[in-house]
């Protein structure tokens, strides 16, 4: 069962500036996480490095899939602990005020959905998973993946 993420945000900066923040390795290091080998070119393979944790070395493999300068950037995203790759797509749309509407789509998640997932996540399972597989939650609050990499 696939479940997709779609997040939209409005930024006061023009698409050119937002594009740079999405494609410049120094910028990505500042707001996303350490990144090696990234270039906004189709076929480019890169590596993101989150904080290693027990059960996960923190490595995410990426490959650029689609580039439409100032408009769209898409890449494959696969943590070494993920069975299947997912796809991250950034879509930039200029707004009337000179800003950008930025949309993030993270798609391709497979796995148990619906009732089974709810069952597995209820009660003691979360606690169990945290204890035995702490590396499975890159974004969980008690293991911030990159708290040391936020700007400033």
């Amino acid at each position: 069962m696939a479940r997709d993420i779609k997040i939209e945000t409005r930024l006061p900066d023009p698409p050119e500036v937002v594009w740079r923040a999405l494609t410049d390795p120094d910028a990505l290091r500042a707001w996303l996480m350490p990144i090696e080998g990234f270039a906004p070119a189709v076929g480019n393979r890169f590596r993101l490095t989150a904080k290693p944790m027990p059960g996960w070395d923190g490595v995410i493999h990426g490959e650029v899939l689609e580039v439409d300068e100032y408009r769209l950037l898409s890449y494959r995203w696969q943590g070494t602990q993920m069975k299947r790759p997912t796809t991250v797509t950034w879509t930039l749309t200029p707004t009337d005020g000179g800003g950008t509407r930025l949309r993030l789509d993270h798609t391709g998640f497979t796995g148990v959905g619906g009732a089974i997932l709810r069952l597995m996540h209820q009660g003691g399972w979360r606690k169990f998973l945290r204890r035995h597989l702490p590396g499975h939650l890159p974004g969980q609050r008690d293991h911030p993946v990159d708290s040391e990499h936020t700007p400033e």
Binding site: I7, L11, H106, Q140
Partner: protein, 119 residues
């Protein structure tokens, strides 16, 4: 894997083992109130899925949960929804911090654009 956890009795086995280091087959059967032959069949499915391992201690068969295959069951979408929400705030903060504002008369006069939190 999905098949293994789709059955309520098998999920019961996993939940019983989740809260114990290991349990004898008899103890599992007792807690779930299922017959030994039926439990054995369910345990075989769970073993085949790699979710449990069997160890022999004398004549007792002890079962233990193996968490690794549960990776597959993880709700990546929920995890990344939270992750990206945080990162997008980081992106907004980064953009604020890089906005040219040499005179201090920018559009975010108070924060100076250096804080990575949301607006």
């Amino acid at each position: 894997m999905f098949h293994a956890v789709s059955d309520p009795t098998r999920r019961g086995v996993l939940e019983v083992l989740r809260d114990q280091e290991e349990l004898a087959v008899g103890a599992i059967a007792e807690r779930l109130e299922v017959s030994m032959p039926l439990l054995s069949r369910h345990l075989a499915v769970l073993r085949a899925a790699g979710l449990v391992v069997e160890q022999h201690s004398g004549r007792r068969r002890l079962y233990r949960l193996q968490p690794e295959p549960l990776h597959e069951l993880h709700d990546w979408a929920a995890t990344f929804a939270e992750f990206w929400t945080e990162r997008l705030q980081g992106l907004a903060g980064y953009l604020r911090s890089t906005r040219p504002d040499p005179t201090g008369r920018g559009d975010v006069p108070d924060t100076g654009g250096s804080r990575p939190d949301g607006t």
